[in-house]
Symmetry: C2
Subunit: 124 residues, 2 copies
């Protein structure tokens, strides 16, 4: 098993700030995982880099398996159908690299903690 | 200063599972804050309860100040314009209760941690 890459994928927006926030999260993930971690980001549509480009960058950087994380709060057609289909299609160009698509962010205590933080932090 | 209420507000969806995930997060926030915490949820549109109804429920439960947390990953028109306007309008019916609108979830290390968890948890 070779190096593992993570690709964050959101919908993509015409709003540059929204696209930049995905890049900022990818930077935080890379920092947390430590030096040399293969972490990228891509948008389904409306802004570059697209999914095929994001995957290709991770492969060029040496990823031998890639996990795609749909950066969506709730499960829906984008995270369960569109992204897996687009990833499968793009990965035909990289048959030597294994890949999978994770669940979206979904329901998690970390999100409850973040809500409390945004509300003014009664609990932490 | 009286009891403080938190209202989570997302866009709302025709997909019941998406709406239920907001309710599940509200439940987690309530658990974290402990017994008697005033935590509600509402959708901007497409599904009940709406913002005015969610706010009224918190007021009836005894909230004297309410913080609305836009449950969106990135800042955009909904979180910075539409929700504050809808909240201001609805709160005219409750002039005795103070209110504010928090920033959306945005960029935070907790979200990076959640991405790593969904990707299969290399770091924790």
């Amino acid at each position: 098993m070779g190096a593992r890459g993570i690709l964050l994928v959101d919908h993509g927006s015409r709003n540059a700030a929204a696209n930049e926030s995905l890049e900022a999260i990818a930077d935080l993930v890379r920092e947390k995982l430590g030096e040399g971690a293969l972490v990228g980001f891509a948008h389904m549509e409306l802004a570059p880099p697209g999914i095929a480009e994001g995957l290709a960058q991770l492969v060029r950087a040496g990823a031998m398996e890639i996990v795609v994380v749909p950066y969506f709060l709730a499960a829906g057609r984008h995270s369960t159908e569109d992204i897996p289909r687009m990833v499968d299609e793009a990965m035909r160009a990289h048959p030597e690299v294994s890949h999978g698509v994770a669940p979206p962010l979904g329901v998690d205590a970390l999100l409850a903690e973040l809500v409390i933080r945004r509300a003014g932090g009664e609990s932490t």
